[in-house]
């Protein structure tokens, strides 16, 4: 099998996260356009310098990325709309990087944005996919909680993970969120005692295992390293990236995503090891999935996630491995497809040294992972990238 070509020469700049709120009167196009405006301002470029747009949103319909060109009065030469949920950011980055490397675009705006209203989450999950509609949703109508409760129970039975182990992720992320302005739950401290005492949602899941659906937008600009230097923008480079879809379909229950299928090549392409990674961002729609990512990305052996989180300080200012340094979705809320950008955008802040009070000092390398699309009983998309601080 061939392997991904180098992402040499590509720069990621101007991370923007905005507008997190539990519900919103605005449309998805407001979130996407607001992120675009802020990125253009941060880059010091004109709107017409952007010639490519990659969009992910669950709440944009009946509009699409094509229609957005008219909303924002832009003439573009490259468009993508990526329906990959929690893997959207990394997948948009991979595709946009190739477009810029090969001259199909010069500056691509990669944006995830979603609105949220009363009942909109129910409407989304009640008609999410044909498999879900016929074979998942009717069974208790719990939405994604049901699939992840089943995955979590199976993981606990298989690995010996306890509720405290998942709590370690949730509690350390809340600590990180308390140092990140804009985190929806950042002003609410969470102790292990609080975590364990929370009400049942879909056992073994309790309240603090579940993300809060919300509105919000995330994005970054992707351009050549040369252009980023000319604009005098702090930037991040892509050392390696890959993705898999519907990996290990014969596993009766999901105990691994697609990461083991490419992780060795990922580190080889990047020329680094886990020891070189200064921070990791996992897609934390539920803590069990972060466990699968820590295992699948080589930070510990398969099934050893519980031991790893017992032994590792996951806070941004700890002595271990800073994990979900802005609080992840568990503390920021899940802003639809923007959630698939959250870890990537936060890593850009960290690696450009613009992360304010939750900055990981001297961060050089970040591992970012994406996971998404629960069609029936498991997440189908797995993606990961290793990023590096751009050199001056």
């Amino acid at each position: 099998m061939s392997t991904p070509a180098s992402y040499r020469g590509i720069a990621l700049v101007t991370p923007v996260s905005l507008g997190y709120s539990k519900t919103s009167e605005h449309s998805a196009s407001w979130y996407i356009g607001s992120v675009l405006r802020e990125m253009i301002a941060a880059a010091g470029i004109a709107k017409n310098d952007v010639d490519g747009l990659a969009i992910s949103s669950f709440s944009l319909a009946p509009d699409s990325v094509s229609f957005l060109t008219q909303h924002y009065d832009m003439t573009l030469r490259w468009l993508e709309q990526l329906p990959f949920g929690g893997a959207s950011g990394i997948l948009a980055m991979r595709r946009a990087a190739r477009a810029v490397q090969h001259g199909d675009a010069d500056i691509v705006a990669c944006i995830g944005g979603d609105t949220a209203g009363q009942g909109s989450f129910r409407d989304l999950v009640a008609d999410f996919s044909s498999f879900s509609n016929s074979a998942s949703y009717p069974y208790g109508s719990g939405g994604p909680n049901t699939a992840f409760a089943l995955i979590t129970r199976h993981y606990m039975d298989t690995t010996g993970a306890t509720r405290e182990d998942f709590g370690r992720l949730a509690v350390s992320q809340r600590y990180n969120a308390q140092h990140f302005k804009g985190a929806l739950l950042g002003d609410k401290p969470l102790s292990m005692q609080d975590y364990l005492a929370a009400r049942s949602i879909c056992t073994p899941l309790h309240l603090f295992d579940c993300v809060m659906p919300c509105a919000g937008g995330e994005g970054f600009l992707l351009m050549s390293e040369e252009r980023a230097r000319a604009l005098d923008l702090p930037f991040v480079t892509i050392l390696a990236a890959d993705e898999r879809h519907n990996a290990f379909p014969d596993d009766p229950m999901q105990l691994r995503g697609g990461w083991p299928l490419f992780v060795e090549q990922l580190y080889a392409d990047a020329g680094v090891t886990t020891d070189d990674i200064d921070l990791v961002q996992t897609y934390d729609d539920y803590p069990v999935i972060s466990m699968l990512q820590l295992e699948g990305l080589g930070f510990c052996e398969e099934g050893k996630g519980p031991d790893y989180v017992r032994a590792t300080d996951l806070r941004f200012d700890g002595v271990g491995l800073p994990h979900n340094t802005s609080g992840g979705q568990l503390s920021n809320g899940q802003a639809g497809a923007a959630a698939g950008y959250l870890g990537l955008v936060e890593s850009l802040r960290q690696l450009t040294g613009t992360a304010l009070s939750n900055q990981v000092p001297g961060a050089q390398h970040a591992m970012v992972s994406g996971y998404g699309m629960i069609n029936y009983d498991r997440g189908l998309c797995s993606a990961a990238t290793i990023l590096a601080r751009g050199t001056d």
């Binding site: 069974y139 129970r153 199976h154 879909c202 056992t203």
Partner: protein
């Protein structure tokens, strides 16, 4: 569309799933082409209705009002001996690793859903009572 339980099945309580006439693959969730060989030759057929419970979840919260008065509600993930993994309404006292039997239940609107019960005859006989309360029509509307 012949791909949902509510419209695609003859009236039956035995477990029937889509079997491919070309490659014999048993397909679930329902679809229009065989997931294995992509042939357009799926037939609803009676299949081995036994399976092993892989995981159990108990819902304390549901997005559908129809469940509100019946929480907590138990569902399970079951690996069928005929191949697929199915999500099913699960008899509440059944634990992971147990062997169960699957059948289809039907509400007054002829919506059918999978139900897993213990493989002893007492469980099989008594099982539907814990389902009677639910208005499946509302859930599948």
């Amino acid at each position: 569309m012949a791909t949902t339980f509510s419209t695609g099945l003859p009236n039956a309580t035995e477990l029937m799933l889509q079997c491919c006439s070309k490659c014999q693959q048993v397909n679930y969730p329902p679809r229009e082409l065989c997931g294995h060989c992509l042939a357009d030759d799926l037939q609803w057929q009676r299949v081995d209705n036994t399976g092993v419970v892989q995981s159990v979840a108990q819902l304390h919260y549901s997005l559908e009002p129809a469940y509100a008065d019946h929480l907590p509600w138990t569902v399970g993930s079951i690996k069928l001996n005929c191949g697929p993994v199915v999500l099913a309404h699960l008899q509440p006292d059944i634990i992971c690793g147990a062997t169960v039997k699957l059948k289809l239940v039907q509400d007054q609107a002829a919506n059918r859903m999978l139900v897993a019960t213990g493989d002893d005859s007492a469980s099989e006989k008594s099982a539907p009572t814990w389902l009677e309360a639910i208005n499946f029509k509302e859930i599948l509307a």
